[in-house]
Symmetry: C2
Subunit: 340 residues, 2 copies
Amino acid sequence: MKGRVTADDVAKKAGVSQSTVSRVLNNYPFIKEGTREKVLEAINELGFTRDEIARSLVEKKTRTIGLIIGNISNPFFAESAGVIISKAQKEKYDVIIYNTNHDDYQLEKAISTLIGKRVDGILAAAVNRNNARVKQLYENGFPIVLYNSRLDDSEVNSISLDNKKGAMLAVEHLAELGHKKIAYIAGPSKYLTVYERYVAYREALQKYGLSYDSELVFKEELTHDKVVTFTKRILSRPDRPSAIFAMSDEMALAVMDGVAGLGLKIPEDVSIIGFDNINIAANSYIGLTTISQQKEKMALLALDNLIQLIESDQKDVQPVHVIIEPELLIRRTTGVCNGS
Amino acid sequence: MKGRVTADDVAKKAGVSQSTVSRVLNNYPFIKEGTREKVLEAINELGFTRDEIARSLVEKKTRTIGLIIGNISNPFFAESAGVIISKAQKEKYDVIIYNTNHDDYQLEKAISTLIGKRVDGILAAAVNRNNARVKQLYENGFPIVLYNSRLDDSEVNSISLDNKKGAMLAVEHLAELGHKKIAYIAGPSKYLTVYERYVAYREALQKYGLSYDSELVFKEELTHDKVVTFTKRILSRPDRPSAIFAMSDEMALAVMDGVAGLGLKIPEDVSIIGFDNINIAANSYIGLTTISQQKEKMALLALDNLIQLIESDQKDVQPVHVIIEPELLIRRTTGVCNGS
DNA sequence: CTGAAAGCGCTTACAG
DNA sequence: CTGAAAGCGCTTACAG
């Protein structure tokens, strides 16, 4: 198809060597002005575009990075990815994006493909706490930084929230509003960040002398429909909880879906608090009380650090471990407890 | 960094030639079983991963496609991109994603970079109606398909909605509920799809004998904040509109933000209808009445057609022009007109 | 069934 | 200031 025009074609047309064409392409300074002009002209006439694949092969860098997220339809991932994509563009990096759908096998496959494509580095926002592949990549000196994820006991670079504090803040807010029965949408604990929130939830309950009821905790796979069903089920109990804390705003929205489906009022009948502070949480119509992860800052820090790793000499680089401060944003979905 | 292991290293370790290593990598059938095993073993011990960049150079295909969208934080783009990314993975294509932020210059830059990186094809969801570059790419036989976009008078492959019908459906629904003053969040008409909706809005008004009031039409750049401000402004007029139609669900949400900010009720005080049917529109707490674009179907068709273009011989391929049928989904944000 | 060699389209010492 | 040549890591005829 199309027989692409190469630097050699340009060279012939301009009556110079291919090396010279390459030099003007790379803005090599010592070229006679006349020569440069001839080359530029030929490039234009021929509609030449330099083959970056060939260039990557010799330069041993592709100026593309891999971005691995859980699921792009979760606004937390979409919005943080947006920040990364835009900033990467400015820094002249392309991004290949992968959804894991929270499946370990898909994560492995994504990593393998990205390594095969020789990306300069990887940003990953959804890696299970014990992922050996990521650990190994890091130990081999491959540029990788995690955000919204962390490994169990490894030095792998990461930008993450103080999740424990975040979950504490959420439960405390509810407890101080007088809520005694606080349900929790926890999710599976293969992610360290998610697990930490769960632990903090339990600790916070204890701190406020509230009892832990495993029936009020959803630990299964986090799909919208399952959470809606769970919400409806626990709210149909005679001793229903008066507040529900969700480990993500996406899931808090699913809880709201369930609550509205039951005809219950928020926050009069049930208070809801999320986690992430996705854009829509601030919409006045929703007004979701939540814990901010400062996703833009998180994403930007992750990218900045990755680029630094890529462009530095690797040797003298210290592991990066940034902990971001959570912030409680009180909006309309939480209120004082009206029930028992 | 890391001195990657090459097929040549594998060859030496296995005591065969590099050609043989290449053959086992490519599942060439006529290899002695013993040889294959030796090679596989060497590959494992060395932790070899084939350099896809080098392979792309000789094969003249990269198995990556470019995906150009307006803005990933708009759920319509994020969700359709999600469908594309997942399906592409299954088909063994990677996707490089670009946000244009609805800026023509960024679109051009994205295309140039993608061409430079020798992607096998491009999917674009946000291209201005008169884009010469896209047209030229298509005419040169480069695999490109648009979705949610179309060019003015060009054959470029596209999957798009019957936008006119969609907007008609929306206004008719409102008119039949008795609304006389229907505002419209139109956006800039550089996109043909957006323009078509605007034209249909006017035609529908006419059909129902409703007058067109340019002050009730928002034609500026579509940002959340600007639409909130506009909404508040028109709803503060003594003769305020009783219904607002937005050209996207994202903007309908902005309208709801403005309405809620004013303390007005939906749909009692003002009915709202969107366009796209993003996932959250179906959430019972929101219940946004909208026009479905069948985004999953649209995205999948776009990808399928692109892959077909890439993998076929190009010559015998007819231009693809799929028009998707819009569907009115009535939910909670629209109701009969209570006002004058 | 397997090896030696050419070639994909660039960059970059090395000469001049 | 510029050209000839080697090399990046593969694939694929061509021989044998």
